[in-house]
């Protein structure tokens, strides 16, 4: 960096004279070489351009549109007639006054935290297992996990719904066959907690592969000698994990926690397919609540306000981790 920085002013001033002095471009070798230097200097930005365009199109514009919509009255009538009615913060006030919004928000945060904890625990265990496995089994586990990860969310959720179907589901059949219990008509979706259990299981099941494979990749970078030394010092399995693996993989853990938290806060497809918020709205989470406000009762402005609040919540929930992550990254340099 230092070398480049000191060289920079010369190049720039030379370029300035070149462009002013010979606007039509010249044959001399000097300026041409400098031109290449300049192109090289800008090249990274040109290479960034496509992704910037994509990000602005796919992220910045929708976000902008979301925020502006949240300050408009946009019911079905305004949507179809393309009317723009600004209402200030009325939508936000309506949301914040809604008792159910707070219940749903709290429920969403708790649900996400439980799912993240379960995913991290199971993912870590799978990663540790993979380290011990032979080559063939490890390949089998990896492929299996990739398949689970690659399954489209809606398909996975539909399969889980069928697995736990009260009449035709394989889970009830297994319980009835293998245990003295008769669960041939046991319902998983008639009350809140069993419904949440199936939902959470589906979410966690599909989140494990990413966590496990990432952690496994991290584990392979830890030299075996450290564990050998730890063993000689008399450390057991738990001690080795806590004192060796955990601190060494801390950056990876932090990234995984923040990513999982973001994903689990915005669970939608699984919820829509499996319970659609039922029974009696008891498994309603923030994303579906917003969807119902928008597409259900056609109050798109209020729904947009709810979505903005959700973005803020997600940001706050993950800001801590992102900060720590950046700090860890700086320390590593």
């Amino acid at each position: 960096m230092d070398v480049l920085d000191t060289g920079q002013p010369d190049v720039d001033s030379a370029l300035a004279t070149t462009t002013v002095g010979a606007p039509l471009g010249g044959a001399p070798t000097g300026p041409a070489r400098r031109h290449r230097r300049r192109a090289g200097h800008l090249l990274p930005y040109w290479l960034l351009l496509p992704s910037v365009v994509v990000l602005v199109g796919l992220l910045a514009y929708p976000l902008f549109s979301l925020v502006t919509t949240s300050f408009r009255r946009l019911d079905l009538r305004q949507l179809i007639r393309r009317q723009t009615i600004w209402v200030g913060t009325a939508n936000y006030r309506a949301i914040l006054r809604d008792h159910e919004f707070w219940v749903v928000t709290l429920r969403t945060i708790v649900f996400a935290m439980v799912c993240v904890a379960a995913t991290l625990l199971a993912g870590t265990l799978v990663a540790l297992l993979m380290r011990r496995l032979g080559r063939g089994m490890r390949l089998l586990v990896s492929v299996g996990m990739l398949l689970a990860w690659a399954t489209p969310t809606v398909s996975a959720a539909t399969v889980f719904k069928w697995l736990f179907d009260e009449q035709y589901g394989v889970v009830n059949w297994l319980v009835t066959e293998l245990t003295p219990l008769d669960w041939s008509a046991h319902s998983w979706f008639d009350s809140k907690w069993p419904a949440f259990f199936v939902l959470g299981l589906c979410v966690v099941w599909q989140a494990i592969p990413f966590v496990a494979l990432t952690l496994y990749a991290g584990l392979t970078s830890i030299p075996e000698e450290i564990y050998e030394a730890a063993t000689i010092d008399g450390a057991g399995a738990w001690r080795q994990f806590w004192a060796v693996t955990r601190p060494l993989l801390r950056p990876i853990f932090l990234i995984l926690i923040s990513l999982s938290l973001i994903w689990d806060l915005k669970v939608f497809s699984q919820l829509y397919v499996i319970t659609r918020g039922g029974p009696s709205r008891s498994t309603l989470l923030l994303n579906l609540y917003t969807y119902n406000l928008g597409f259900g009762v056609s109050r798109f402005g209020v729904a947009a306000a709810a979505a903005v609040i959700m973005v803020v919540i997600t940001f706050i929930a993950t800001a801590f981790y992102i900060r720590t992550m950046i700090r860890v990254g700086e320390e590593a340099l």
Partner: protein, 429 residues
């Protein structure tokens, strides 16, 4: 000089082209009309509404009249239809003709998404339209939805199972209906999956007759304000009756609905004694189980007092033209053919639905199944006539109430109170 004008006009048109995309309401004028006649009009029909034979006949008649235009039929699923229609009507190229469930017409009409067809009523033979469907298609005295077909639910059963259970004739009141369920339960109840009455918990269409028969209402209008009325003593009594039946005789998922847990499936498999469903489900059952042909029969849901039938929900659909249609005239021609006598006769015969005109109600007279549904339709009701009603449906207020009642999570009194308050809030919001 002429040429120069044309060129200037051409350049102006090219410059305006981009912005013109946004405003599509400019009616084509003069010679342009023939040139800009669309090659295609899009028609949304609901899954299961019209048999292929009817649609093809209508399309054939349409293309004979308009050789340059192909009617493109897109079949839609009922599940999530409100969201889909909303998105489509708000878009730049909405479908030209839409089938809309009768209870949803006023919502989309109110939003300005549907074309006003009031002036076309006599041209369409509107004087003989079914009353319930006409009301459903009307908002503030203007017609937006042309009656397409009607449907009511009745009790469907299997004659072979009734014979085995020793039931000789259909029940004539609620008490004998319960006695009939007892007999079925006694005969087939050894199978833990057998339901004498298969009733998925969220099936609110089938719950309404019990509310209405007991004298209850969904909502009542009082001085311009709507008020949820499910917490009235009458409505509570009706729902208590239903709760007793469901908890005693139904093994259907309490949190299930009639789409995911189609009552026709257990009926075909012999796991259901009776179901409450539409006429066309008879065909669904015999198609999946050809050996049951001729063994599936129906009777109207009996009422509390002997000899009466319970008022049933008049379902069905209306046909509408989107306000944003690029070819409203062509759309109207297609709609007129589908709503006309020929297509309606075929729809009633091939599709087994109730046709849109009272003149055609004798078509089913000789059919032992369809005539029952037609008779039941005479004692039919609809949902409250307000554009906001659709939000009660999409807010799953009735479904939530029924699940709370059947699962025992809430008492009938508490659940109906919650639902009534939610309905009041939704209808007046």
């Amino acid at each position: 000089m002429k040429h120069r004008h044309l060129i200037a006009a051409g350049i102006a048109a090219a410059l305006l082209g981009v912005s013109a995309c946004g405003s599509s309401n400019d009616a084509p004028t003069g010679n342009n009309q023939a040139a800009s006649q669309p090659k295609e009009i899009t028609i949304w029909l609901m899954n299961g509404s019209a048999p292929d034979s009817v649609v093809q006949a209508v399309n054939k008649e349409f293309t004979a009249k308009h050789p340059g235009t192909t009617p493109k039929i897109e079949i839609q699923q009922w599940d999530g239809i409100q969201e889909k229609t909303t998105t489509a009507l708000a878009g730049n190229t909405p479908p030209d003709v839409l089938e809309i469930g009768s209870t949803l017409v006023s919502k989309f009409a109110d939003s300005g998404g549907l074309a006003d067809l009031t002036g076309k009523k006599s041209d369409l033979g509107g004087d003989s339209w079914l009353k319930g469907l006409t009301e459903a298609g009307t908002l503030d005295g203007k017609i937006y939805g042309v009656p397409y077909y009607g449907g009511v639910r009745a009790v469907i059963y299997r004659t072979d199972m009734f014979t085995k259970a020793g039931i000789s004739s259909p029940p004539t009141d609620l008490a004998s209906f319960t006695a009939m369920l007892d007999k079925l339960q006694k005969k087939f109840g050894a199978d833990p999956k057998f339901s004498a009455l298969y009733f998925p918990g969220q099936y609110w269409y089938a719950a309404l007759p019990f509310v209405w028969d007991a004298g209850g209402e969904l909502a009542v209008q009082d001085g311009g304000q709507w008020k949820g009325a499910l917490d009235s003593p009458q409505a509570q009594a009706g729902l208590s009756t239903l709760k007793d039946l469901v908890t005693k005789y139904s093994k259907a998922p309490v949190n299930g609905n009639e789409n995911d847990n189609d009552p026709a499936t257990p009926m075909g498999e012999g796991k259901a004694g009776v179901i409450i469903d539409n006429g066309w489900k008879v065909g669904v059952i015999t198609k999946a189980h050809p050996e049951l042909k001729g063994k599936v029969a129906v009777f109207a849901l009996p009422g509390k007092s002997p000899g009466t039938t319970a008022p049933v929900f008049l379902g069905g659909s209306n046909l509408a033209i989107s306000e944003g249609s690029k070819a409203p005239d062509l759309a109207y021609d297609w709609l007129k053919i589908m709503a006309g006598t020929t297509a309606q006769t075929q729809l009633a015969t091939d599709g087994g639905v109730i046709p849109n005109s009272t003149n055609l109600l004798n078509l089913h007279a000789k059919d032992p199944i369809l005539s029952v549904f037609d008779a039941a339709a005479k004692n039919s009701r609809s949902t409250p006539a307000t554009p906001k009603w659709a939000n009660v449906e999409s807010g799953t207020i009735l479904q939530d109430m029924l699940v709370a009642i059947f699962s025992g999570k809430s008492s009938v009194a508490d659940a109906t109170k919650t639902a009534s308050e939610a309905i009041t809030k939704t209808l007046n919001s």
